[in-house]
């Protein structure tokens, strides 16, 4: 949803502009800044300005401070001529990038905060409704995020970091992790090893992370194998070892957790689950179960361990990513770079606040109860006048849920 009035838009633009003037150092251009394409959305414009190029980090910062855009992006790719049209840019490589967004994480809370509202009377309706049931006014979509979504994306991010370090051998100093400023994270691997990979290879990386196409028997985990000749017996598989590398290890450790600590009711297929658990708590052994059972457990394990990344972003060689250190026009929050150690304690609605806390009088049309920074906003069901710190006011205005008091 966008701004309700032009006055709201120019208020946010002024807030962004004053933030950038005072925090120009926080704008964090990527490596090789001169070989990147930049793009942004200006306030009030519907078309993205693309194919921009700057010769240095300082020039990038100058442009952001000068234009104070609603959204700012940079390419994951390196180009010889980044400002040329796409066919003439001369692609030099693309960093390996990942995007984790609440959209791609199956959760049961999405129905709670994907709805439409009537700005006239504050009535909420579900997504199927076309107009307000009470006053017949137009309804607007609301994109809300809740704490569960934010924790969900963070959990995926931590899984992603683990796999990249353990399996892909990426070192911490090659990683750029950033909160998107709304409801997800992006991660960039700056490694010459991966820069030259084509789309097909990147697709294999996506499949690896999401465990798509995983066939346990190839990893030495019993599974009914299709085909006629030489079906392997359980004893033919190397015994389960919790220290095993890669997906094999991840699956064995997760199965171990299922069996020893987990909620066993989920595995109704396993009639002898008690016996299997007892054996595994002493020493993991394939022989206590059947190939079919191990397959079911492996699939469940892979589902928990797989990383929910947006598959399109990683495969797209010309993708634009939000520029770190800039403000997200959907929230007014900072696209904030995080060190690996900071990830587990990071609280987006506290740690990525960028704007000041000067009180701003607002009319809030609607809002669920939520906390941001130092304030907690109670549920608002009909247009209500309240005064909120600038960062919270901008947050609601950007989501189209509030307007400046006339």
């Amino acid at each position: 949803m966008s701004f309700n009035t032009e006055r709201d838009a120019s208020f946010v633009k002024r807030a962004f502009s004053s933030y950038y003037r005072n925090n120009r150092d926080k704008i964090a251009p990527p490596t090789s800044p001169a070989n990147r394409e930049y793009a942004y959305f200006q306030f009030g414009e519907k078309v993205m300005v693309r194919h921009l190029a700057f010769s240095s980090e300082e020039e990038v910062r100058d442009a952001i401070v000068k234009n104070s855009p609603l959204h700012a992006y940079r390419s994951a790719a390196y180009y010889k001529y980044p400002s040329a049209p796409m066919e003439e840019k001369e692609w030099m490589g693309t960093d390996l990038v990942f995007d984790i967004d609440a959209d791609h994480i199956p959760s049961d809370c999405s129905s709670e905060h994907e709805y439409r509202i009537c700005k006239n009377c504050g009535t909420t309706a579900d997504k199927s409704m076309e107009s307000c049931g009470r006053c017949k006014s137009r309804l607007y979509d609301v994109e809300w995020v809740c704490e569960r979504c934010l924790n969900g994306t963070k959990n995926e991010l931590m899984k992603l970091i683990d796999v990249l370090i353990d399996d892909f051998g990426v070192s911490e100093d090659e990683l750029e992790v950033a909160f998107s400023g709304n409801r997800g994270y992006h991660l960039v691997v700056y490694s010459s090893d991966y820069v030259g990979l084509d789309q097909l290879s990147r697709r294999e990386i996506v499949n690896y992370l999401t465990a798509r196409g995983l066939e346990p028997s190839y990893l030495g985990i019993p599974s009914p194998v299709q085909g006629k000749k030489g079906r392997p017996r359980l004893t033919d598989y190397p015994p389960p070892d919790l220290r095993s590398f890669g997906w094999r290890g991840r699956i064995i450790r997760r199965i171990y957790q299922f069996l020893i600590q987990g909620d066993q009711s989920t595995f109704r297929d396993l009639k002898n689950i008690g016996e299997i658990s007892t054996v595994w708590s002493a020493e993991p052994d394939w022989n206590v179960g059947t190939a079919k059972q191990w397959r079911a457990l492996s699939e469940a394990a892979a589902k928990v361990e797989g990383v929910n990344i947006d598959p399109v972003v990683t495969q797209d060689l010309h993708r634009l990513l939000r520029l770190s250190g800039t403000l997200n026009g959907k929230t007014g929050l900072l696209t904030k770079r995080l060190s690996i150690e900071d990830v587990s304690d990071f609280d987006p609605l506290r740690d990525s606040i960028a704007l000041d806390d000067e009180p701003v009088p607002l009319t809030v049309f609607f809002s669920p109860r939520f906390s941001i920074g130092e304030v907690t906003i109670d549920e608002v069901r009909e247009p209500t006048k309240i005064s909120l710190p600038r960062y919270a006011a901008v947050y609601l205005i950007c989501k189209g849920l509030a307007s400046l008091v006339a």
């Binding site: 353990d166 399996d167 892909f168 051998g169 990426v170 090893d193 991966y194 030259g196 990979l197 084509d198 789309q199 097909l200 290879s201 697709r203 294999e204 990386i205 499949n207 690896y208 465990a211 798509r212 196409g213 995983l214 066939e215 190839y218 990893l219 030495g220 190397p238 070892d241 220290r243 095993s244 590398f245 890669g246 997906w247 094999r248 290890g249």
Partner: protein
């Protein structure tokens, strides 16, 4: 490589030491007419004939001595270059590659590692630590993950997918057999690039008879000439045209690409012979197998199901869709493209006819 023996050169004639050895000999084409070279030329000719006739089932010669084996390789390069047929070049390079592959399977791991590292710039290490070996399903080697991805990008089999491999610390674990299979294309590329460096044109007396013989054998063994050249290709969607072009250039389009094109052709009414003729340009072409596969897709064999062409979204998943479908009208299956285009063409001719009236 540390010590390069004639035995090594005989088995792996593409190595850089082989090239420098030959250039030090300062051979001129004239010298090849000396009797001394006759057995080498004969063996070179034999290598090529074998490739034409047997393809990748080429046999390892046990009769000749290492010197003949090695010296005949650059001569074979010259012969293939003089014939100047790109299909032959690829087929011969593949046959030579499979020969190297068969030797590599027998070598000590340390030798394999050195050869791949030094000659093909593939980052590979032997797995020495017993615990590491145990935790990686007893693999003899590990190869850098990005190198693995590049070498497997054209292999469709599930067991080669990264997700079905043991990966750790940026390495992918493989057995010797797997490693040797993995480097096939790298060796083939190396031989092909040696071929493109060898530019011998025109005629040259001591070799002319051999060149002529090879050319004759080529035409008889390749009775299958392109039947479909230019058959209403304007009506083909961009994805299928691109697969076909790759095929003609001898670029590997992967199992899925082959299947997609064959099922497309079958569905728009090409005969089995026409489908097979397209694939005859593949360097690993085997008439019997290609025929069987084409018949299978057409539903004449096996399950008797006639396969439909993969949908646009499946083509996208396999990265075969061109420009995200921007060149196509709104379609869900490549077959629709052909239908829509021929309908449009019909309308156009009808319109023109009306105008004439």
């Amino acid at each position: 490589m540390q010590r390069v023996t004639f035995e090594t050169l005989a088995r792996y004639p593409f190595v850089s030491a082989g090239k420098s050895y030959i250039s030090k000999l300062n051979l001129t084409l004239e010298e090849l007419s000396k009797d001394y070279f006759k057995p080498f030329i004969q063996r070179a000719h034999q290598r090529i004939v074998e490739a034409i006739e047997r393809g990748e089932r080429s046999v390892i010669s046990e009769t000749t001595d290492p010197e003949t084996e090695f010296i005949s390789f650059p001569i074979a390069l010259i012969l293939v270059s003089m014939v100047g047929d790109s299909w032959l070049a690829r087929r011969w390079a593949l046959a030579e590659t499979i020969r190297c592959e068969n030797y590599l399977l027998e070598e000590e791991p340390a030798f394999v590692k050195d050869l791949l590292k030094n000659e093909l710039s593939i980052r590979v290490e032997e797995v020495m630590d017993p615990e590491e070996k145990e935790l990686s399903l007893r693999s003899e080697f590990k190869i850098r993950l990005p190198d693995f991805l590049k070498l497997t990008s054209h292999i469709d089999a599930l067991e080669w997918k990264l997700v079905n491999r043991i990966a750790h610390n940026g390495w992918v674990y493989v057995t010797q057999r797997e490693l040797v299979r993995l480097v096939r294309e790298a060796i083939e590329d190396r031989i092909l690039s040696r071929l493109s460096e060898t530019r011998v044109q025109g005629s040259f007396a001591p070799l002319d008879a051999y060149v002529k013989d090879i050319k004759t054998r080529l035409t008889t063994s390749r009775g299958y000439e392109l039947l479909v050249q230019g058959k209403a290709e304007g009506m083909w969607p961009p994805c299928m045209r691109s697969i076909k072009e790759s095929l003609l250039k001898g670029v590997n389009v992967g199992h899925f690409g082959n299947f997609a094109l064959a099922s497309f052709l079958t569905n728009i009414g090409y005969s089995i012979d026409e489908v097979v003729s397209l694939y005859s340009r593949r360097s690993d072409f085997d008439l019997r197998i290609a025929r069987y596969q084409a018949e299978h897709i057409a539903g004449l064999r096996g399950s008797r199901t006639r396969y439909t062409t993969p949908s646009c979204s499946t083509m996208k998943t396999h990265a075969l869709c061109i420009d995200e479908g921007r060149l196509c009208p709104k379609i869900k299956n490549p077959l629709q493209y052909t239908r829509i285009m021929s309908r449009r063409a019909n309308l156009r001719t009808r319109g023109e006819n009306k105008q004439k009236e």
